[in-house]
Symmetry: D2
Subunit: 302 residues, 4 copies
Amino acid sequence: MTTIGFIGTGKIGQTIAFNVLMGGYTDEAILYDIIPDLPQKFEHELRHALASRRLRTEVMGTNSLEDVSSCDVIVITAGKPRKPGMDRRNLFVENAKIIAGLARELPKRNDAIYIMVSNPVDMMASIFMKLSGKYTISTGDQVETMRLRSYIAKVLKVPVNYVGGYVGGEHGDDAVVLWSTVSIKDEPVRDKVNKEEVEKYVKDIPGDIIKVMGGTTWGPGTIIEEIVRSIVLNENKVMSIAFPHYFEDEIVHISEPVVVGSKIGPSLESLLDEKDRWHLISATKDFYTFYKESLGKLQIVV
Amino acid sequence: MTTIGFIGTGKIGQTIAFNVLMGGYTDEAILYDIIPDLPQKFEHELRHALASRRLRTEVMGTNSLEDVSSCDVIVITAGKPRKPGMDRRNLFVENAKIIAGLARELPKRNDAIYIMVSNPVDMMASIFMKLSGKYTISTGDQVETMRLRSYIAKVLKVPVNYVGGYVGGEHGDDAVVLWSTVSIKDEPVRDKVNKEEVEKYVKDIPGDIIKVMGGTTWGPGTIIEEIVRSIVLNENKVMSIAFPHYFEDEIVHISEPVVVGSKIGPSLESLLDEKDRWHLISATKDFYTFYKESLGKLQIVV
Amino acid sequence: MTTIGFIGTGKIGQTIAFNVLMGGYTDEAILYDIIPDLPQKFEHELRHALASRRLRTEVMGTNSLEDVSSCDVIVITAGKPRKPGMDRRNLFVENAKIIAGLARELPKRNDAIYIMVSNPVDMMASIFMKLSGKYTISTGDQVETMRLRSYIAKVLKVPVNYVGGYVGGEHGDDAVVLWSTVSIKDEPVRDKVNKEEVEKYVKDIPGDIIKVMGGTTWGPGTIIEEIVRSIVLNENKVMSIAFPHYFEDEIVHISEPVVVGSKIGPSLESLLDEKDRWHLISATKDFYTFYKESLGKLQIVV
Amino acid sequence: MTTIGFIGTGKIGQTIAFNVLMGGYTDEAILYDIIPDLPQKFEHELRHALASRRLRTEVMGTNSLEDVSSCDVIVITAGKPRKPGMDRRNLFVENAKIIAGLARELPKRNDAIYIMVSNPVDMMASIFMKLSGKYTISTGDQVETMRLRSYIAKVLKVPVNYVGGYVGGEHGDDAVVLWSTVSIKDEPVRDKVNKEEVEKYVKDIPGDIIKVMGGTTWGPGTIIEEIVRSIVLNENKVMSIAFPHYFEDEIVHISEPVVVGSKIGPSLESLLDEKDRWHLISATKDFYTFYKESLGKLQIVV
């Protein structure tokens, strides 16, 4: 039996949970949020949807973390979302406190793989893993990866499944297109696209969407479901998610193409050219610097 | 080639469009809304989701009704949504004006079947059909139907696909459970459930959800996608949607179990006992009275 | 939990079972055949296929009817298949003896709905129901129905989901296209096709396939899976399958469009014009005459 | 638009084509066989199945290789199948002649990726690539890989998606379980299973099935469809298929875990321990020796 826990049932948590449940591969879902009555009412919405799809998944909404038990996978979206114009890293201190609390509680009743979605997502994964000692991934740059492919497909007017390639580094403004991996069918993309334009799209589109729609939901909610599915069904798809890297005295989460199944790994660094590798190393250092500083601030407030 | 138009990309319009596109059975989707930039940004969200599912559906967001052309099916969610505590019928005059405008414009460039979702949904369908002369259905009580089955499955602890049965009449507070159709596997439900409790659930749950979540989306969005799919793929499933009934001098839209495919019908009134039929007739009369009155008010304001 | 039994694991039994299991909606499948080791080895083939689809369905092959227990649905393909040039009715006596044996045994350990596929399929359904007292359907003319739609789609070069319409009467050479139901999208087909050519195709294509391929499998195996799914998931799709009609002193199985869910019915005779109804009545009488005669022969040999 | 060619419509070719078409991700399928009328009648069977699934895939059966054009992917199952008790390598000379003919013809009208299924499958892939100069893979040990997981799941009574691990080397009797990759969820399998028993199963089960059923179809047909899908949809799943390795003066096809998408690669040799790597090198040498010898014989007969 597969049980999946969803910590946080805001807009993005709802979209992920909905997509996972409609996928039909989980037997049980536990929905948790601190907002009274929200996960319970979301449970009803999901039951109505499951009825239409003739799926028998058991689903329970709760405001008590004690009800979140025996999960195989836990998806964490709890925390403040990014406001229009805000940088993800600004959320560090506030969300780190929430994540720290979860890192203390969740492992008590669950022997799960943890999937972090709360922003700044890679750092929250690192904190959760540091404090809980449990294997944690961040959904990282898989969202950017699909935005990249989607945009190139649109510009070149080709089906999106013709486009390969990954975005790596830290999720957000500092993510980098790993150009050595980008291809159209089995050919490198080379100069078929304007690289600056593509990079600008990948960086700017989430902010542009948030400005108009208040948040990004359908894109990330669907893409993150693909990550969950690949883990639960052990599909071993290559995706660009952030997994633990040991760097200096810390575990840091940086995205690069990696095999995603019951186990995460190995990474496919061999795909990358020198330049792309350099970008990843640089991203790792930059992550580390900000992360250590922020951990310092956190100790004051915790 | 199948093209589906979505008029209105608010929360419910988005959820329906998302589910339809992820179903993979439409070649093209046109997203329209009056809010500047909203359908365009929603288009991007959908492109990212389609990339993850490797679907090649063409999708276009627009603020111009002139771009909505050559659709086979048009789903209308435009209009004001219900606020907490508000009755659907209170929206009549305001939304009727919007629907009247669409009834004038949409048929010019589309030879489509029209699916009304804007509230009060059955009356909006009647108005749209009256003014456009085009075949129109309302999603009617199929949403209540799935809520009914979902609740009975939960109470009796049986898989939801064991539960059959329909809700009929006007969508909303006056909808009635058609008890003569309710069954568990192939047996009538009889006294296995507390009927009053079930009826209360079906009537109250949408309001309860709206109070906490601001609107119902996941349930209706999934259930309405099933209607769209049954029409587009000509699946001929029996559902309880509202289709045109000729009553006195008007076309009125009332839900009862009916075959849903490329064509709508026949209805399965033969399933109903006397009491349930009486409920439907009563609902039709009540609809007619309010509708005629409201049409009168509308003429003043149009 | 849903358990489905497959009685007979020859070519057609295998194709149906494969499609049902790949559908992912059954928890358990029991495969029975009299040929030693065949259902057991087929079990392995299915396990390998399930592994690839990441489905966890339990599956068991057996040569003992006693292992076939607690099924919700039982699909019967046991018996001799039709040889090239042979009429389905020629199989009556030989297969009736097999079916009679099953009718005595299967109800002892199963409270199931029975789906007959063995030829002559409608009569075998009638015999099974007569002897077992259990509700039985025959897959009837749904196979012809899909062949009809497929052919019209090809001739008119339209997507197959644009074509509606049903074939009724007894499965086989005497099946009749119910022309009053045939439509393209929401329009009657009228003279858009050459009706004789269409009827000839529906009648001749199975024999033509059998001559070259030794049997029909992919078509019926997929179409019959759709029937099983509509029953198990209570989808209430309209299909043309043969269900029990009380005629004179017997139950006879004749196909006409009917709602297929946990319960079978109601039929949609209201769709048919006079001519099509006359065809069905005539088919019923013809069925009855041959059936009564054959029952007589059977009593001698049983 | 995606077009897939199927060269050979015997039992296994049919099963692969059926599964690919039911997957709904190809626009067009071309079915070729030398047996008169076989691909044409199979076309009809597929049309009937597509009608039931409401899929609009174009499909054409032909006896002329000239009709096989503009394919993106070509799946080759042409050639003699293995008889009970026969070793795959015994088929080398006879099937190599057929494959050589295809290698001359197919590239003239197709710019495709070639997927070899005809036995001895890895060597036929090497010959096809040698003679055509076109990128070719063999379905290799992915079939054994799924048989491995299926068997371990059964023995340990766990869901099959909990089991990871690959079989490598040459497809057939010399394939080796790559034990360093075998895991239950995220843990190495270690001594939880009897390794000899598992290896015996993987080696013997296809022969056991062939003895009773005349051939293996459902397992390979489903597993090979997963390979086709991962290529066409660029899913980048890790599978154990045989891809070109440059060894001495030849290209040889040996299976090991590799990323399967629009492009094949990189391989995940880093997953393997010393022993498993040694097995792969040994398999490569053994392949090379037999292959060179057989090429010699072939030159006489070609």
